[in-house]
Symmetry: C2
């Protein structure tokens, strides 16, 4: 197809998760069919989001620049509990259960040597610092994917925390093995966070 | 969630086809995780595509501004055949079969009174004009979705063309009923275009 600008757009869209090769043409078509104002608004919003949405310096969830973090500064949340999740999306999956009222810590992934992700790529060190400097934290719930990498990361974090005299728990094994948190149904996630077990 | 810019971004992304509500958070996360250059490039590319990619004035497929249409001006394509498709994506589905070497005409949809899409919203009138003014065109293949609306649109177009003494054909009924062209496998599309029937 001899439409270079369109080919370039398709190539960039292919890097966006969940746009499989068949859907990518429909998405490109959608953008080309927008009117100029809509597309300018979309781009403006992307750039503004990139500028204004930053990770919280304590929990690493996305927050609006110049405002305080929704989770860390809420007086309604239990300051003694910290739930460690892989990503912001996993945090939202737990929030949807309405069964958890503690704080969060977004890890940024799991340790995966094959993909070159070591502990230093994640926010494990800031988590240890956080637990040491806030004596209000009594329990750390490790809510990672039920995969080999997730389990290994959970064990790694638990070992780091053991010297701090803190209760470390993990999601109940009610989660189907091999599943991701984000893709699970509400009730399964709710059960898993209610039945958390001591590591 | 008290991150207004992020909420706005989610709302705009939800309008993009194939980004179901669960995926939309992953996509937002993807954009926020891009570095500044990557995101600027993405936005620049979208705006440039919008500016430079226009519908061909003859066949209405996307083409690069200032260059000639890939399909209409190719000397390798059979100028006596015009295949009428709903969208650019359907055109690409036919190209992928490598079993068709004629020209195209992109309709922009099918007639659907319930959604307020009448014949005047589509490029039916330009198609009739095109067939009248190019005596080289001997056959029009109507390759629309095998749905009630697609069939009705095919019949409407066939009636308009009947006075022009032209052969009007449609895709073979080998296509599964209720399916869309874009979603079909290569071989089914190939059989359907080979076995086209006279209307």
């Amino acid at each position: 197809m001899n439409v270079p600008t369109l080919n370039q757009l398709i190539r960039v869209l292919q890097q966006v998760p969940y746009l499989a090769s068949k859907n990518v043409y429909k998405v490109a078509h959608h953008f080309l069919n927008m009117n100029d104002e809509q597309l300018a608004y979309f781009c403006q919003l992307l750039l503004r989001a990139k500028e204004n949405v930053i990770p919280c310096s304590i929990c690493f969830a996305w927050q609006e620049r110049e405002t305080s973090c929704t989770w860390c500064t809420s007086s309604k949340r239990d300051q003694s509990l910290v739930c460690v999740v892989e990503s912001w999306q996993d945090l939202l999956a737990i929030e949807k259960t309405e069964g958890y009222k503690g704080l969060y810590h977004v890890l940024g992934g799991v340790v995966c040597p094959l993909e070159g992700i070591g502990p230093e790529e994640l926010t494990i060190e800031p988590l240890i610092q956080r637990v040491s400097s806030y004596p209000s934290i009594k329990e750390v719930i490790i809510a990672l994917s039920q995969t080999a990498e997730g389990e290994a990361t959970a064990t790694y974090i638990a070992r780091q925390l053991v010297s701090l005299d803190i209760k470390v728990t993990a999601l109940a094994q009610g989660m189907p093995v091999g599943s991701s948190l984000e893709g699970s149904d509400r009730l399964t996630v709710y059960r898993a966070i209610s039945d958390r077990r001591v590591l």
